[in-house]
């Protein structure tokens, strides 16, 4: 997180991590489509080859909150392909929270596992303690055949330390829920660490309610 007292500006970095072709970019595209232009900036895609991310995608979201504080969220994706590990490590630098986008297909179980281990390693290499780092997990591509069943995911969710979300990112389903879940987890962790309420008068509950409102959701519930 970057705190700029002079400009009264907070910048939070959220990273979408996961195996190749699990739908990280698709998540950002869906958020960009679903959120108003006032909140979301232009989606930036840095270098692709054959429609595959080489460096990262970047979506800026801005929330002007009460007390004249500007809160900026920067959403990044990492390149999923195994060979781009150096780039993944670079993008993960200074991450405040991570959404792990897993592929629901049973054939991708191993790829999910390897990408998750890779994320833990890269967090550690960046001096971030994985155990206390806010992470949510999204099981994407729920519309495909040969996927891990809902019952299976629900069972896993009860044992999982990380909140689990189901999504069909191509149709925008579950994308906002995942983002809000990550924002919630990340903001509460940042609050505990930086006492934002004390320093900036930013009430966490108030702020998170405001974020939901700006994303076109009511005070609670789904769109």
């Amino acid at each position: 997180m970057q705190i700029d007292f002079k400009s009264r500006e907070l910048t939070v970095k959220l990273v979408y991590y996961g195996p190749a072709l699990s739908g990280k970019t698709t998540n950002l595209q869906a958020i960009h489509r679903l959120v108003s232009n006032e909140t979301a900036g232009r989606l930036m895609t840095l270098e692709t080859r054959d429609d595959r991310t080489l460096f990262f995608d970047l979506l800026p979201l801005t929330f002007n909150s009460g007390g004249g504080i500007q809160v900026r969220f920067k959403l990044f994706t990492v390149p999923g392909q195994v060979i781009h590990n150096a780039t993944r490590r670079l993008v993960l630098q200074g991450a405040d929270g991570t959404a792990f986008i897993a592929d629901s297909q049973t054939s991708e179980t191993r790829a999910n596992r390897e990408a998750f281990l890779n994320m833990q390693q890269n967090l550690r290499d960046n001096g971030i303690e994985p155990e206390t780092h806010p992470v949510v997990i999204q099981f994407n591509k729920r519309d495909l055949p040969n996927i891990r069943s809902d019952a299976e995911l629900d069972r896993m969710a009860t044992r999982s330390k990380e909140p689990i979300y189901k999504a069909v990112a191509l149709r925008g389903e579950g994308v906002i829920d995942t983002f809000l879940g990550l924002t919630d987890l990340t903001w509460r962790r940042l609050e505990a660490k930086h006492s934002l309420q004390e320093k900036f008068g930013l009430d966490p509950d108030e702020f998170l309610r405001d974020v939901r409102r700006r994303l076109g959701l009511g005070d609670g519930g789904t769109p």
């Binding site: 997180m1 970057q2 705190i3 700029d4 007292f5 002079k6 400009s7 500006e9 910048t11 970095k13 900036g41 232009r42 930036m44 840095l46 270098e47 460096f55 990262f56 970047l58 800026p60 979201l61 801005t62 002007n64 004249g68 500007q70 900026r72 920067k74 990044f76 781009h84 150096a86 780039t87 490590r89 670079l90 630098q93 200074g94 405040d96 971030i128 930086h194």
Partner: protein, 469 residues
Amino acid sequence: MNDGVQTDSASVDIAMADIGRLEDVVDREALRDVCRSFFELFSLSVRVFSASGALLADVHEDQPIHAYLRQFARGRQALAQTVAEVTKADVRGRAPQRRVELTGAVYDIVPLDYQGRAVGRIVIGPYLPAEVREVPRQLLKLDPNIDPERVRDLLAQMPRVRKSTAERIVAHLTGILKLLLFSSHRAHLTSEMHLASVRENYRELAEKNAKLQAAYDRLKELDRLKSNFLATVSHELRTPLTSIIGYSEMLESGIAGELNAEQLEFVQTIHAKGDQLLALITSLLDLSKLEQGVMSIRSETIDPRALVDDIARTFAPAARKKGIELRTRVDEELPPIEGDPIRLKQVLSNLAENALKFTPAGGQVFFEAHAADFEEESDTEMGAVFFSSPRPAVAFVVRDTGIGMPAAELDKIFDAFYQVDGSSTREHGGTGLGLSIVKRLVDAHGGRIEVSSEIGKGTTFRVLIPSPE
């Protein structure tokens, strides 16, 4: 986590992918061109300031009314004040602002935000809002010498824009500037990421190299320890062995009393096996000394003829016993060479032993010495003409008409413990150390050993010892 305020002057911060200062990211030439095209379309003056107040683009037209009013002290003062207000206006995170000058003309100050951060502002104007029809009264009251007719004429030359049109123009310009900023930002990020990933990959490789180097150093150290160990053990083994051989020799000679036939045979076997073991240990010791580079090689003048004759004499009884014909041939004219006579004899003895070992009865073994040329072996052929200067040399040849070796094996026979056919150790005896010692001894003389062979026809070893330079 990066908790600090971004203070470094880098134009792009990789971790947050933010732009630092507008002036570092945007191409000023392009910015000016965009502003100029707006000016040409709408006759509106455009200025772009960065967040730090630097003027990045300035396309404007001097207004005749301003020139006229500046002739009056209070006019000059009022105009300057508006300009100062416009230049210093803080519009960070706020809505657009408007400043009205004494002519009734306005400046619109529009904040330029990028990814939720104020990066600069655009100033449009001065222009007269279309809604303003009258010449402001206070303007005429500014100075008694002001000519109302003149003011009216000059004001008419000022650009007039409807409020809604002005807003549309500003929105359009802001949009284009943001696009310009977006593509500059992306280009900057891309090149920064290229550099950063190359650096990161390099760092990773350097780390791996260091690990490999450490592993290699450790292996080298282990190898040295192994050679040391071998040398020590060989030495320690030799000492008791000499006693065993010595005492069995004494028993054999009858010093401790006459032995019966069976006892004598047993003692002779102990003696023979003891000698065999000693030879093996000596070879091991030689090898480890050569590997450690601690074998001392004397340098004396060598007489090739004497050497060849000596070898022939030594092996004559064994050859006769096996029914093999021995022949020698030594050139009349040979270049002088230097070396260690004992070591060179060891080399030739070893080759002679092999030749006899692998040649069946009725075969022939040749010991020869010829004049030859010695050329340094070099890895590259480039510029060979400058580096190769053949030196005179003596080639010692040991040739047999024995069983020969397959061509594929010839590269490996000089490796320690190697034998063409593992089973030949048992059939023919030997340790598999002989040729590796031979090669190292020849190397230690600055020479070279070559081998050629044909299955069933025989084998030729050629030892080249060059003349001193």
